[in-house]
């Protein structure tokens, strides 16, 4: 252990003080408006300390990353998917792959309980659970030539737990796609500006695909610049369309949008990748990184004040209009991706491990990227908390509660304990050139209002409507990319499963199988999307908790695989590193599943809900917010499906957890009985820095490696 020098000690003391000051102000201020600067200070201070100390401890003491060990990228280098990639490039790659709509939507919805509970979990959750999961999965997958989470579960836990993990992943994928699509539908419904600009992304992407395939293969940067220029033009053009006689053609009801989206999802997923998916992915990656950087700058430059309460009454009463249930467990379920996301385990075990240069870089790539994702969630929380709480609740409560006019909405908001005048509600919609903002659930419109508030402070009020639609476009763009990519992955899983029954399914180029499985996957998420749009109790209100539960259950699977691997690889002493987050995550998520299935509160428990509406049907009564007998039957069907789904997901994960425990106990009793499928040690011939900046020692290693193998120098 080398002695720390005084300058380093002073620097880290200062960082700690900044973070502590942020937390103190956030925690102690009540009934006064707090600047978002404190939230930023608390987040950045905590991230810095966690990265410097905790992540380093995990990397070197627990995982014992070895810079002498060649990674799969070095050993299996084929110049295509396996190739050593510069750590700064890989950080960008990995971040672009994990960041999506989740960390933007979750915090917006969780803001109904106030900004404090959500912020605490986003920061504490990422430090102790989310970033740890991403880094540890990345490490173990790197030691196994980039095997996927499913393969690791099968090999290290067993076929039973492995199959349950596979089924759970498939079900989770379907829910994810349905909820993401629902967010898009709610953002684009009755909005000709938004619908036009999103529709235009399809011809733009087709053009880019043609350009890359036929005109100038591989010239990604230039075609992306052209694409972004066209995209911004489509965005400006959206306003002209909305003001012209074409407006009607692009003003679509939610149920029409569902049909378009399902058709799009099906067609997109059977087209070759080069036509639509690849170019769309370039567009959405550029937009994603660009907008996130702009938003971070906007928040830091304008430092807006938070108008939402630190903790609202809904946190303890559990009767919030956005989602039902009390703070524990539902705030954790709702935040999901920004703090801990099971889906990241699919990225950390797959693409990234095949590209990483050195084991020592798992801290920067795995832990570092997740800290960046968490800061995106913090920005979403800021955006949701700086808008008027009255407007927030008018936008996020289900239509059945808010009503159809600004007057009704104003009264409904007063019932929640907040005030906003009908005029203010009407003005807010007019400012962003939307016909109405009432019950625009799903988080995207609320985030867009927050973003337009921040950006128009910099550019002036005349740009407000543009920024609103810019934010909508930015979210819809990568959700549509995720729909396409996710449908393909779901199809791939289904083809693999059906291949066990009927061999040809496994051949991914077998056309009938391709079409059949694509239709099955789109049909499944399309069903839940349809249900969500027609749900009298509010689609987001009913489905978002299942999405959060699904994602957190996948995280439980990933953490269980990590813990099993820590135990089996002789790191029992350190198994708590992923074991404690696993116990916490399993407790939260299984409690939420339990409540969703068994709660006697009809707002929370699906089966209670079902029986109340079924009894009313038997008596011939219509219960609000249902408006007709048809609505009543819809509620009964949906509650049954949602309840069964919640129960099945939880059961599958319990099977995985039980099987993982069995394997761990067996290993502790008889270490010789278990096998570890790790790739054998091969000595690395190259050198590469572990962190963003090379240390003097690493610079010397780089120079020495260059001398030894001049041909390898890049």
């Amino acid at each position: 252990m080398r002695a720390a020098n005084p300058k380093t000690i002073a620097l880290w003391t200062l960082v700690a003080l900044v973070g502590a000051a942020g937390w103190t102000v956030l925690a102690l201020s009540r009934d006064e408006e707090v600047s978002a600067a404190w939230m930023v200070a608390a987040a950045l201070g905590s991230y810095a300390i966690a990265y410097r100390f905790y992540a380093k401890f995990i990397a070197y003491k627990v995982l014992r990353v070895d810079k002498r060990r060649a990674t799969p990228a070095e050993r299996l280098d084929n110049g295509i998917d396996y190739h050593p990639t510069d750590r700064r490039v890989l950080l960008g790659h990995h971040f672009a792959a994990i960041a999506g709509a989740g960390p933007l939507v979750g915090p917006v919805l969780a803001a109904q309980m106030g900004y404090l509970p959500g912020t605490i979990w986003i920061i504490a959750g990422v430090i102790f659970a989310g970033a740890v999961q991403d880094m540890v999965v990345l490490f173990f997958s790197t030691r196994r030539d980039g095997k996927s989470l499913g393969q690791m579960a099968r090999e290290e836990i067993g076929p039973f737990g492995g199959t349950a993990a596979l089924l759970a992943t498939f079900a989770i994928m379907i829910i994810l796609l349905a909820v993401l699509a629902l967010v898009v539908v709610n953002a684009l419904a009755e909005s000709p500006w938004g619908t036009f600009s999103i529709a235009m992304t399809i011809p733009i992407a087709l053009f880019m695909g043609f350009y890359l395939r036929v005109l100038r293969p591989g010239r990604v940067s230039e075609v992306s610049l052209i694409g972004i220029a066209l995209l911004l033009f489509a965005l400006v053009g959206g306003r002209w369309v909305a003001e012209s006689s074409w407006a009607e053609a692009f003003t679509l009801a939610p149920s029409t949008l569902v049909i378009w989206l399902v058709a799009y999802g099906f067609v997109a997923s059977i087209l070759p990748v080069w036509m639509l998916l690849a170019p769309r992915d370039y567009l959405s990656t550029f937009m994603k990184i660009g907008t996130i950087v702009l938003l971070a700058l906007g928040v830091v430059v304008t430092l807006p004040t938070l108008k939402m309460d630190a903790v609202t009454d809904f946190a303890s009463r559990g009767d919030g209009p956005v989602f039902a249930g009390s703070l524990f467990p539902f705030v954790f379920i709702t935040i999901a991706c920004g703090a801990l996301s099971g889906f990241h385990a699919l990225i950390s075990s797959g693409t990234t491990p095949k590209m990483i240069q050195k084991e020592t870089q798992v801290r920067m790539i795995g832990y570092g990227s997740m800290l960046m994702e968490s800061s995106v969630a913090i920005m979403a929380m800021v955006a949701a908390s700086i808008i008027d709480p009255g407007l927030y609740f008018a936008m996020n409560a289900p239509a059945g509660v808010v009503g159809d006019t600004v007057q009704e909405a104003s009264r409904a908001v007063a019932n929640f304990g907040y005030t906003i005048s009908p005029d203010d509600l009407a003005r807010a919609a007019k400012d962003v050139e939307e016909s109405s903002l009432l019950s625009r659930t799903g988080g995207a419109p609320t985030l867009a209002i927050g973003v337009s508030e921040i950006f128009s402070k910099v550019t002036g009020d005349s740009m407000r409507a543009f920024w609103y639609h810019f934010a909508i476009m930015f979210e819809a763009l990568f959700i549509l990319t995720a729909l396409d990519a996710g449908t393909r992955v779901g199809r791939f899983m289904l083809q693999d499963m059906l291949g066990n029954v009927h061999k040809p399914f496994r051949d991914v180029s077998w056309k009938p199988g391709l079409i059949l499985t694509s239709a099955a996957v789109t049909g499944l998420w399309g069903y839940f999307l349809w249900v969500g749009v027609h749900e009298p109790l509010g689609g987001i209100n009913q489905l978002f908790p299942i999405f959060g539960i699904a994602n957190q259950l996948l995280a439980a699977v990933a953490l269980a695989v990590c813990t099993t691997l820590l135990v089996k690889s002789g790191r029992l002493k350190w198994a708590w590193i992923t074991g404690v987050p696993l116990v916490w995550d399993a407790t939260v998520t299984l409690t939420a599943s339990w409540q969703k299935v068994f709660s006697s509160d009809p707002r929370v428990g699906f089966f209670k809900q079902r029986s109340i509406y079924q009894d009313a049907i038997d008596e011939g009564k219509v219960l609000p917010p249902a408006k007709s007998m048809d609505d009543m039957h819809t509620v009964v069907t949906n509650s049954t499906v949602d309840g069964v789904l919640s129960a099945v997901l939880a059961l599958l994960v319990v099977v995985v957890l039980a099987d993982a425990t069995r394997v761990c106990v067996r290993h502790i009793r008889d270490p010789l009985s278990s096998r570890l499928s790790e790739a054998p040690f091969v000595e690395s011939r190259t050198a590469a820095p572990a962190g963003l900046f090379a240390t003097p020692e690493e610079k010397a290693e780089l120079a020495a490696a260059r001398e030894r193998h001049p041909a390898d120098a890049s």
Binding site: H83, G102, P217, W274, L277, D281, S341, G486
Partner: protein
């Protein structure tokens, strides 16, 4: 000063080319020349086709998260 600016611009260009995988072809050619000197190097067009078509057969490559 212009030297510094030029270096910064070169850095940005390098980063963008790497991040978008525009440099994939150059990398692959270098790889083939070094590891299999006798093998023929595909044209850029053929290589880019092969690369995107691989994603068709295994869509887990390049999967995007929520």
């Amino acid at each position: 000063m212009t030297g510094l600016l030029r270096r910064a611009l070169r850095g940005v260009r390098w980063y963008v080319r790497e991040l978008t995988d525009e440099s994939a072809y150059d990398r692959y050619v270098a790889h083939v020349r070094k590891e299999h000197p006798a093998a023929a190097v595909p044209s850029r067009r053929a290589f880019e086709r092969m690369r995107t078509d691989r994603q068709d057969t295994d869509p887990r490559q390049g999967f995007r998260c929520c």
